[in-house]
């Protein structure tokens, strides 16, 4: 799975421009699913299994887009102003490198700081593509880029850009490889435009109209120096979401997920995400409502160019997802 993760994170596909990653995923899916389609917003929608009498129609969503930047202005000297695509902070930008999908590379610089104590705003940052004048700049307004960082292993940990959410994508692909039998009709969706608000998932969920849904994503940790108060730690197993700031997870779904983990003695962590959300918030309120769970792999430094996960957590996410999908599901009403 590591080589798959490397291939996925080194593919550049910001929100709305997912063609490259879609092609990589599509190639991995050969012989794994019954059919593959790309919908109007660019979601890659696949389907596997027939619904047995005790089976459900399940949507499993992992977003394939990543955060990026978009050019807003090329100035007279060829410097490029930009706007963020997806939610991240300007302090992760300075000195970072970006790779435009038209091939152009650049480095992020900043205006002279008026106050060294203050983090510069996006307005004060620009991209230097090496141009000496406007004429040399190979970009135009609307060109889009992602951050550029190689895949690196640090002991048990993986560091790369776009682990959010290529880890989720890898977990789903690996689960598909291992999933032998299922009583369910499962629609595995690699969603577009999650980082800008779960837009792909909104449309995909409407089309699929599932009985329940599972979102496979990353979540932040609280185990770094003076970090946020969060019980999730790297290396302690996948996280099962209870709540984030856009949704409350159906308690029946939480119970199903935790019971499944307990049964196979798989360690897990309950997650409350106070700042952030996933595709789940969009799926949950689709049509007449969809009970939706979130299975997250813990990660540090999310939405920076160097995100970190523990490979053992990734493997456990696969085991949990495989077990969740292999057996009949009874959601107990409380």
């Amino acid at each position: 799975m590591k080589s798959l993760i490397k291939k996925l994170v080194e593919t550049n596909s910001p929100s709305g421009y997912e063609s490259a990653i879609r092609a990589v995923i599509k190639a991995e899916l050969i012989n794994l699913v019954d059919d593959v389609q790309t919908d109007a917003l660019g979601n890659l929608i696949t389907h596997k299994g027939e619904k047995a009498p005790d089976g459900l129609r399940i949507m499993v969503a992992a977003h394939m887009d990543e955060i990026g930047v978009m050019a807003t202005h090329i100035d007279d000297n060829g410097f490029v102003r930009f706007t963020p695509i997806g939610g991240f902070l300007p302090h992760t930008c300075y000195g970072g490198r970006v790779h435009f999908i038209n091939g152009t590379r650049g480095v992020i610089g900043r205006e002279k700081l008026q106050d060294i104590e203050k983090v510069p705003t996006f307005d004060q940052l620009f991209i230097d593509v090496g141009a000496e004048s406007k004429k040399d700049c190979p970009l135009k307004i609307g060109d889009i880029a992602v951050f550029e960082r190689p895949f690196t292993e640090l002991q048990n940990r993986i560091v790369a850009k776009a682990l959010d959410n290529r880890i989720g994508v890898a977990v789903v692909i690996e689960t598909l490889r291992k999933l032998q039998k299922t009583p369910h009709e499962i629609h595995f969706v690699f969603t577009a435009q999650e980082e800008v608000g779960g837009r792909g998932a909104t449309a995909a969920a409407f089309g699929i109209d599932p009985d329940i849904a599972l979102v496979i994503d990353l979540t932040g940790c609280g185990d770094t120096p003076k970090g946020s108060h969060k019980e999730v730690r790297l290396g302690k197993g996948p996280a099962i979401a209870v709540r984030d700031n856009m949704m409350v997870v159906d308690s029946r779904i939480i119970k199903w997920m935790t019971k499944t983990a307990d049964k196979i003695h798989l360690p897990y962590q309950l997650e409350i995400l106070e700042r952030g959300w996933t595709d789940g918030h969009a799926i949950q309120i689709t049509r007449a409502g969809v009970p939706t769970g979130i299975l997250s792999t813990p990660a540090r430094y999310i939405h920076s160019p160097s995100e970190m996960v523990d490979y053992r957590d990734v493997e456990k996410s696969v085991i949990l997802l495989q077990n969740l999908l292999s057996n009949p599901i009874k959601l107990d009403l409380q």
Binding site: S15, G16, Y17, E18, S19, D39, A40, L41, G42, N43, M70, A71, T72, H73, D75, D76, R81, T83, I85, I101, D123, K140, I141, G142, Q193, V196, R199, G200, T202, A203, A204, F206, G207
Partner: protein, 357 residues
């Protein structure tokens, strides 16, 4: 660059005049709706007013397999609403849609469906203290004065529009509510002269300024295969205050229709963006790319409708948007009509199966 703009007849300029002089604050779009319905009814195969007040119209194309294309333009405009009447007969109010409170004082307004004339009152300069001049007055501290003649005639919930009348000055038009009556006028013109290769689904939407609410239900009902929102966007191409290069102009008047790549609500379908640019370049229609960033148009609601709808926004640049008086260049208006018509006329089903990017 501007000499290629199509000549606009007096009829369509007159239409902009009557549309911008009408009041249509979000949720109270009746006056605009009446004009729209009277203009389009003899040119469409069917039309109706839906549950939220959108005017939805269908004009069939040639052949059974015509691409179903939704075009939307919002009928509503920003303004205000009467909240309460104080003991002296002055009116508390709030704004509807995004209006800068700093520019409210002293403006002339029309209140309610009877268009009661009033003014957003302010203390005379003689009585204003220097420190008061330095800060904007909160909306809670402002009142609308309908004079002794109008006092008692307005009620909580009455909508307030700016009273500006349309003016044409050569190549420019000055009016309130150019956002988005220009789009409405273009869509009316498209309904009258639609290319026959497509099935035109026209949505004159309500409540865009307060959250794209009309477009959301309109897109669900019309269920198109692709959509284009026609709107107005701000042109802020004035020099920066400190003589540095202005890098936040958003768009520029006189530089042609504004094609969106992304705003705060939509990442436009890259295939439609390419289509618009290709047509503009092939025909020599001036165009500009809007600076990506915040903001949103009806496309934000439309593209997420049902199983997803490839969507694009094309806007007309206007100065002083969301104020009592905006300015637009007539060539931008004409070139937008030209570009959108040509885009529609050359739309091909293969666009929807081509790679996005």
């Amino acid at each position: 660059m501007r000499n290629s703009a199509p000549q606009l007849n007096n009829e369509i300029i007159g239409l902009v005049e009557s549309l911008t002089n009408a009041s249509g604050i979000s949720g109270g779009e009746g006056e605009v709706r009446s004009i729209v319905v009277s203009q389009i009814k003899s040119h469409v195969d069917n039309h109706h007013v839906d549950a939220l007040g959108n005017v939805l119209a269908l004009r069939k194309g040639e052949g059974k397999d015509a691409l179903r294309v939704m075009l939307s333009a919002h009928m509503d405009e920003v303004g205000g609403m009467i909240l309460d009447i104080d003991q002296d007969g002055f009116h508390y109010f709030d704004v509807i849609g995004k209006v800068d409170k700093r520019q409210l004082i002293g403006k002339s307004v029309l209140v309610g469906t009877d268009h009661l004339p009033g003014v957003i009152g302010c203390k005379p300069i003689h009585l204003t203290k220097p420190h008061e001049m330095r800060q904007p007055v909160e909306i809670n501290d402002l009142r609308i004065d309908l004079s002794p003649e109008g006092s008692g005639k307005a009620h909580p919930g009455d909508r307030i529009s700016f009273s500006t009348r349309f003016t044409r000055n050569g190549a420019v038009m000055l009016a309130k509510a150019l956002d988005d009556r220009l789009g409405v006028a273009i869509l009316i013109d498209l309904v009258k002269h639609a290319p026959e290769n497509i099935e035109l689904l026209a949505a004159f939407t309500v409540q865009e300024e307060i959250g794209l609410r009309g477009a959301r239900v309109a897109a669900y009902a019309l269920n198109p295969q692709l959509a284009i929102a026609l709107d107005a966007t701000n042109a802020n191409e004035m020099p920066a205050w400190d003589d540095s290069e202005n890098i936040y102009y958003n768009s520029k008047i006189g530089h042609g229709p504004v094609i969106y790549v992304a705003d705060g609500a939509t990442i436009c379908d890259p295939r439609l963006v390419r289509h618009a640019i290709t047509i503009a370049e092939r025909l020599g229609i001036p165009y500009q790319l809007r600076q990506p960033g915040t903001g949103g148009t009806d496309a934000g609601a439309i593209h997420k409708s049902r199983s997803g709808i490839p969507s694009l926004t094309i806007s007309i640049p206007i100065r002083n948007i969301h104020t009592p008086i905006s300015i637009t260049h007539i060539d931008d208006f004409g070139n937008t009509i030209w570009l959108v018509k040509e885009m529609l006329a050359s739309l091909d089903r293969s666009l929807l199966t081509s790679e996005r990017a």
